[in-house]
């Protein structure tokens, strides 16, 4: 690398290579070392990816034999958090640091130091563009207005353009160093876990200084449109071809023998939401509305969706997925009529119950409260639950409380109105249910993450972006203008640049053509 002198910077490639430096630090600062580290990192990343494709982590942990043993020693089940990967990343960072440390003073000198007025060395330059022109100083200066003149003497002018580009590689490498450090720091520690819940649940985890209450979760589907997989008549799956007319669609139905027929069906027979992998592409959005709780106080309401995580106190909650296989069916109602019969006395009363409102049973000390409604009652190991949102076997839980303090819940079935013998001498029967409705609730799943090194990564992105733009879109060009003595002879222009010299040549040729034309 050049010593920071403009001449040696411009002619570096023509000179003999610098003698090899010895020592660990010198080796780290060489480009060759950094490139080899990058190549090894790239090759090992590829190898790790291929091993990952051939062996699932679990399969690798179970596999027997020398090959799997070796892969386990190398931590190929999680290669990018392995010791050797971190070591390589650390070496790369060290190498980048050494490069930056070595090159910063050189760039600084190139930036600040005035070029030498000795131009005799220009005669031996091989990679420059040399042209001669017959032109006055003022005219040439006006034509070369894009150059900033760093030296103006009677015999020699030295102009530069795109000098800011000199900083590009330094910024780029600093950015890459920061990104490497950020990745290294991020590979240690951190939190990565999944939490799920239904609407109304509060999710929290140890170490997270806040809790999140799920207020609601929704899945929005695209409207019917061509290309969608749809369920027709709850019987077969097809692909929507196009809308035949208002309210009717053409659906491509695939046979088992790969035959295909186009069937026209009414829109109300078609569903684009069904329990299959195919309907996933029809999902437009899924998101949870949550309330953040700190010390039991509501501090924030937010929607968590894909591409819109909740960020708080260093934690990030992502809308990772949801569980369509284990839904919860929730039903509600406005009121119900409960028939209370005393068969011994031959008396029957009907009372109206509102949900969760306690009402006294006539002529008794017992009080009854109407509770949960299950539209499709089933009894499982975990107790009663609803199997669907359809009102196939609706049941309401009634809770009886007596003056002596007893509390007795009991399920009453609407479609099987056998008179349930309640507490005491009465039998109970629900004669009608009003305003009943049921919905399906899905469990939302959040991914909770906390990692370190994020700030370093962001800073790295900024530095590297600036660096890349300066390095590749700002080209540093130097122009030496040697004036003839006492107005005799022609002015000699020597253009030097380390990049795209042919373009520079074209540019100078065009300038000379213009000068000649104007003369």
């Amino acid at each position: 690398m050049t010593n920071g002198n403009l001449q040696s910077y411009l002619t570096e490639r023509e000179s003999e290579p610098a003698p090899k430096k010895r020592g660990l630090w010198a080796m780290l600062s060489t480009m060759k070392f950094a490139i080899w580290t990058l190549i090894v990192l790239g090759a090992l990343s590829l190898a790790a990816m291929i091993v990952g494709e051939l062996y699932a982590p679990e399969a690798l942990r179970r596999a027997q034999g020398f090959g799997p043993d070796l892969l386990r020693v190398l931590r190929m089940d999680d290669p990018f958090r392995s010791w050797w990967y971190r070591l390589l990343l650390g070496i790369l960072c060290l190498s980048l640091f050494a490069c930056i440390l070595e090159r910063t003073p050189i760039v600084w000198r190139l930036w600040t130091k005035k070029p030498s007025s000795d131009a005799s060395w220009l005669r031996s330059v091989r990679s420059g563009v040399v042209r001669t022109v017959n032109s006055s100083r003022s005219e040439l200066e006006s034509r070369l207005h894009r150059f900033r003149w760093r030296l103006k003497s009677d015999a020699l002018w030295i102009g530069e353009r795109g000098r800011i580009g000199l900083w590009g590689p330094l910024f780029t490498h600093s950015g890459m160093l920061l990104i490497g450090l950020g990745a290294l720091v991020g590979s240690f520690g951190g939190t990565n876990t999944r939490l799920g819940g239904f609407a109304g649940d509060v999710v929290e985890m140890p170490g997270m200084p806040f809790a999140v209450r799920i207020d609601s979760f929704r899945v929005v589907y695209y409207p019917l449109q061509p290309g969608q997989w749809v369920m027709v008549d709850e019987a077969w799956v097809g692909k929507l071809a196009r809308q035949a007319s208002s309210g009717r669609w053409q659906v491509r139905r695939m046979g088992r023998d790969e035959s295909e027929e186009v069937v026209t069906v009414a829109a109300d027979r078609i569903r684009n939401r069904f329990a299959s992998e195919m309907d996933r592409a029809n999902i437009k959005r899924y998101s949870a509305f949550v309330t953040v709780l700190e010390d039991g106080q509501e501090v924030l309401r937010q929607e968590i969706a894909v591409n819109s995580p909740l960020r708080r106190a260093g934690f990030r909650l992502y809308q990772s997925s949801y569980d369509p296989d284990h839904p919860r069916f929730v039903a509600s109602y406005d009121s119900l009529h409960l028939q209370v019969s005393d068969s011994a006395a031959g008396i029957t009363d009907t009372i109206t119950l509102l949900p969760s409102v306690e009402v006294a049973v006539p002529r008794d000390t017992v009080k009854v409260t109407a509770g949960e409604l299950l539209p499709h009652f089933k009894l499982g190991q975990q107790g009663a639950y609803s199997e669907s949102e359809e009102f196939i076997n609706p049941a309401v839980q009634l809770v009886f409380r007596g003056a002596s303090g007893f509390e007795k819940p009991r399920w009453i079935f609407l479609k099987f109105p056998s008179h349930e013998t309640g507490p005491g001498r009465y039998a109970y029967r629900i004669t009608s249910l009003h305003g009943e409705r049921a919905t399906t609730e899905l469990m939302t799943i959040f991914e909770v993450r906390r990692s370190h090194g994020g700030a370093l990564l962001w800073l790295g992105f900024v530095f590297a972006t600036i660096g890349l733009l300066l390095s590749f879109y700002v080209v540093h060009r130097v122009l030496y203008v040697e004036w003839p003595a006492a107005g005799q002879g022609e002015t000699r222009l020597t253009g030097l640049s380390r990049k795209t010299i042919r373009l520079y040549e074209r540019e100078l040729d065009s300038l000379i053509e213009n000068l000649r034309a104007s003369a």
């Binding site: 990343s45 990816m49 894909v306 591409n307 991914e447 074209r506």
Partner: protein, 414 residues
């Protein structure tokens, strides 16, 4: 079903470029200035509908048309045209237009093989403005790399360097034919001595299920690969120009082979073993088999090496255009594929980097082009060496692009 307007416009552009290429090829032979005007006009006539197609598709789908592989490749070819247009204008060298077009045509043929049905519905993860930034910058960068690869191919096939002035140039197929005989002999001997066949060793090493028909593809591909290396060894004494020529033909075979393989797979003439992790190797085998045919065909089409030798093209110019195209593409690819991708991944998936196959592929490509730039800028690598790097980089990029057919992962949308 009627072909959508944007696909029709895509085909209009394709035919304009193809005819434009023929016109420029004619210009190379007879050098009539009128032909450059006609050729340029055809490129413009192709570029306009291709640009309009992009807008039409955007309007039809209601979202930025970058959600599947056809759209990505279409934009990549569009960008390649734009890049070589800029380079032709900056360097005023018509020959760039004449010789780069095949790669644009190739990209468009590859795009035409992919499902063109527009995705009307963006999945939730893709509903972000980062889609525009990430995919467009990456495809623009990739388009520039495609141009660099095309220029490099021309360099290898056609360019003349100072030392070639008195060089002996008689590209002969003899070493290739020798290799085709020697290699099977060597393989038979090794197989007999060790009792280990290539497929078995692959199974032992990977412990993977054995593909039945695919095994033949892998073996034949492996055989041709070894033949290629032996060919290289046998041609050691040849001139540099001749070696360059054969290397160029080799890359032509690789890209052509990949394209033909794509056509064969698309048409169902060849089927890779379902769900086998070795299907990638089967694909490589198929590429090498088709590529070998392309190598011999290309050699014949190039007049057994005589046509490129007669074209007087300055190596230094091609070398600089190669470098310029890479420097145009590299920052965009870095910002788009890596930085914007990482930032978007953090917002959508919770992690800047997930080591998804496509991400690893992008990283390797980036490392490769970084090495290219350092080698050129710091070590003064140029000419043949940078041309080889450029072509290898582009081959890696195409492999990464189609990689999700073999590896799946988070980027398996199209």
């Amino acid at each position: 079903m009627a072909t959508p307007l944007d696909v029709q416009l895509f085909w209009v552009a394709f035919w304009c470029y193809l005819v434009g290429w023929f016109v420029f090829s004619l210009w190379l032979a007879i050098k009539k200035p009128l032909l450059t005007t006609v050729g340029s006009l055809l490129y413009v006539l192709g570029f306009v509908p291709q640009t309009v197609a992009f807008g039409v598709r955007w309007a039809n789908t209601g979202h930025f048309p970058m959600s599947n592989m056809y759209e990505y490749l279409a934009v990549m070819s569009w960008m390649a045209v734009l890049t070589f247009g800029i380079l032709t204008w900056r360097y005023r060298q018509w020959v760039i237009s004449a010789l780069i077009t095949p790669i644009v045509v190739m990209l468009m043929v590859a795009a035409s093989l992919l499902p063109k049905e527009p995705s009307m519905q963006l999945m939730p993860a893709l509903q972000s403005y980062w889609l525009y930034i990430h995919v467009s910058l990456a495809s623009i960068g990739a388009g520039a790399f495609a141009v660099a690869a095309a220029v490099s191919m021309i360099f290898l096939l056609v360019a003349k360097e100072k030392e070639d002035a008195n060089a002996d140039f008689h590209p002969s197929l003899r070493p290739a034919l020798q290799a085709l005989v020697y290699v099977p002999l060597a393989i038979v001997i090794v197989a007999l001595v060790s009792g280990l066949l290539a497929q078995q060793s692959a199974m032992v090493f990977f412990g993977a299920p054995s593909p039945r028909g695919g095994g033949a593809l892998i073996l034949l591909g492996l055989y041709l690969l070894i033949c290629g290396f032996v060919w290289g060894r046998l041609a050691r004494g040849r001139s540099l120009a001749e070696k360059r020529y054969w290397t160029g033909i080799g890359f032509l075979g690789l890209f052509g082979g990949a394209l033909i393989s794509g056509v064969l797979l698309k048409s169902g003439s060849v089927v890779l073993t379902e769900n086998s992790p070795l299907r990638l190797f089967e694909f490589f085998g198929l590429v090498l088999i088709c590529g070998t045919v392309v190598v011999f065909l290309s050699h014949a089409l190039l007049g057994f090496g005589r046509i490129p030798w007669k074209l007087k093209l300055e190596g230094k110019l091609l070398d600089e255009v190669n470098y310029r195209a890479v420097t145009l593409g590299y920052p965009l690819y870095t910002l788009g594929a890596l930085f914007a991708g990482a930032i978007w991944a953090e917002t959508a998936w919770g992690s800047f980097w997930s080591w998804d196959p496509k991400e690893v592929g992008a990283l390797i490509i980036w490392v490769f082009y970084s090495a290219f730039l350092h080698a050129r800028y710091q070590r003064g690598w140029s000419g043949t060496r940078t041309a080889l790097l450029s072509l290898t980089g582009f081959a890696m990029m195409m492999l990464s692009f189609f990689g999700n057919y073999f590896f799946g992962g988070l980027h398996a949308y199209g």
